[in-house]
């Protein structure tokens, strides 16, 4: 399968890329940004997208890598999943992201696919949006009007839709450090190399046997990732015991709106959300998930 013909540019800077996007837009071109290409190229090969112009971010220096900025880490939008999964700073301060990135697709796709690309793509079954939402990350977006930052809570707007507008580029994601917190990403699939049927991201802080704060993100329980607010409220201030966690996890499907598809109907997903939330929180606080 061969994509339809398009013009191609590989700018060296974000400014140059923004200029190309603006010029293409003014010329009436249907322009697409290319990151790792692991979602865009398959869609172009199927001709479900046929841009007349592609702007490749792959040659812009400085968009790739993880830097320590005190209370937070800055993850470049073009950082490949493989790097997120193995980076020592992420392992130390937000291991939840490393664990989630390691479940994406397969090694070859993780070598090319990028952190920013997966977040802008915003597939409801994608594995990175829920952990990033749970972590309260901030998205750094550059556009014709300069730079702006958007909170994770406002970034994911709908099915495959984010705050990144046409003509804009996501340059980086700032993630607060959760050093010392317990965390776990629990992904449910039936076969290898599969997208999440449902998955749960848990960040939990325990002090002297009490859960002082919990941040829970749900994958594929609506058209966007969701926080399991009722579970978070039920956990906070309670004991880090299996019984308390199981009772809190029973709230996991509240406020969700999961799809029904060939992998399972909405009721099945609601059930999975509860089971996986229990497992994720138990693992995050260092208790083994019960049978």
């Amino acid at each position: 399968m061969i994509p339809s013909a398009f013009d191609y540019a590989a700018p060296a800077t974000v400014e140059e890329a923004l200029g190309l996007l603006a010029a293409a837009d003014a010329a009436g071109d249907d322009v697409k940004v290319l990151a790792g290409g692991q979602s865009l190229l398959p869609v172009m090969k199927l001709r479900m997208a046929d841009p007349s112009m592609v702007v490749d971010l792959g040659r812009i220096a400085g968009l790739n890598g993880v830097t320590d900025s005190g209370d937070s880490l800055l993850i470049g939008a073009m950082t490949p999943h493989h790097v997120v999964a193995t980076d020592p700073l992420i392992a130390q301060h937000v291991p939840l992201l490393a664990q989630a990135a390691a479940t994406v697709a397969d090694p070859q796709v993780r070598h090319r696919g990028t952190f920013g690309g997966a977040l802008v793509h915003a597939d409801p079954a994608g594995d990175l949006p829920a952990p990033v939402l749970a972590a309260g990350a901030t998205f750094l977006i550059s556009g014709p009007g300069g730079q702006r930052s958007v909170d994770a809570a406002d970034f994911f707007q709908g099915y495959f839709t984010t705050a990144v507008e046409e003509g804009e580029i996501l340059t980086g994601i700032r993630v607060p450090k959760y050093t010392g917190w317990g965390s776990h990403y629990e992904k449910f699939t039936r076969v290898a190399q599969q997208w999440s049927i449902v998955a749960v991201a848990a960040l939990v802080r325990v002090e002297a046997g009490t859960i002082t704060e919990a941040r829970i993100g749900l994958t594929n329980m609506a058209s966007t990732p969701l926080r399991a607010a009722a579970v978070e409220a039920a956990l906070a201030g309670g004991p880090a015991t299996a019984d308390a966690i199981a009772a809190a996890a029973a709230h996991a499907a509240e406020g969700t709106d999961p799809a029904s598809d060939l992998n399972g109907d909405a009721a099945y997903r609601a059930h999975l959300a509860q089971v996986l939330t229990k497992r994720a929180v138990l693992a995050a606080v260092g208790l083994q998930a019960g049978a």
């Binding site: 399968m1 061969i2 994509p3 339809s4 013909a5 398009f6 013009d7 191609y8 590989a10 290409g37 692991q38 190229l41 398959p42 090969k45 007349s52 592609v54 490749d56 792959g58 493989h82 697709a105 397969d106 090694p107 070859q108 796709v109 070598h111 090319r112 290898a192 190399q193």
Partner: protein, 176 residues
């Protein structure tokens, strides 16, 4: 008509400079322009891994990359694995362990296995299976593929007669 681009790519240690259409996939460039038909197309939808090559030493699916994205980079295909007429250890191990039947998945399996062993020289069996999750085989049932990769990780050396010794055993034999 979209304009073509000039790219320079080092493939299996040879530099090529060519004009390509931006939409030309890397796998098409390798097979149809360079004649490197050792790299196969199975699914053409990023699922099967038959088209796996190395880009700067790291495995990628060449059906899901544009040739223009490889400009200035180094590509290694299955055809670049043997050195000086001698099969690479993984190629020899696949042969000796009967890790292929029809052989269609084999180039991709070997390229992905090589990338896996570079990142994790001593994988467990579970890590090998995980590492090959993006490569499908319709014939073998995977058992012998995993055995072949494990044998290379364990240092098994095969000679032409198919008799195998491990590097460790050879040394012990020499000492005793």
């Amino acid at each position: 008509m979209a304009s073509s681009k000039t790219i320079t790519v080092e493939v299996d240690d040879v530099r090529y400079t060519d004009d390509v259409e931006p939409r030309l996939l890397l796998v098409q460039y390798l097979r149809e322009r360079l004649g490197k038909t050792g790299t196969l197309v199975g699914c053409d939808t990023t699922n099967c891994g038959a088209c796996t090559v190395h880009l700067d030493g790291v495995s990628v699916k060449s059906c899901t990359m544009l040739a223009v994205q490889a400009d200035g980079h180094k590509v290694t295909t299955i055809e670049g694995m043997a050195q000086d007429g001698k099969l690479a250890p993984l190629q020899e191990a696949f042969h000796q362990c009967h890790a292929l039947q029809c052989g269609f998945c084999t180039p991709g399996m070997i390229m992905q296995s090589a990338s896996l062993l570079k990142e994790n020289p001593h994988p467990t069996e579970a890590e090998i299976r995980d590492g090959l999750e993006g490569n499908l085989c319709r014939c073998t049932g995977y058992q012998n593929i995993v055995a072949a990769v494990k044998s290379v990780a364990d240092g098994t050396v095969y000679d032409d007669s198919g008799v195998s010794t491990t590097a460790g055993e050879t040394e012990t034999a020499g000492v005793s």
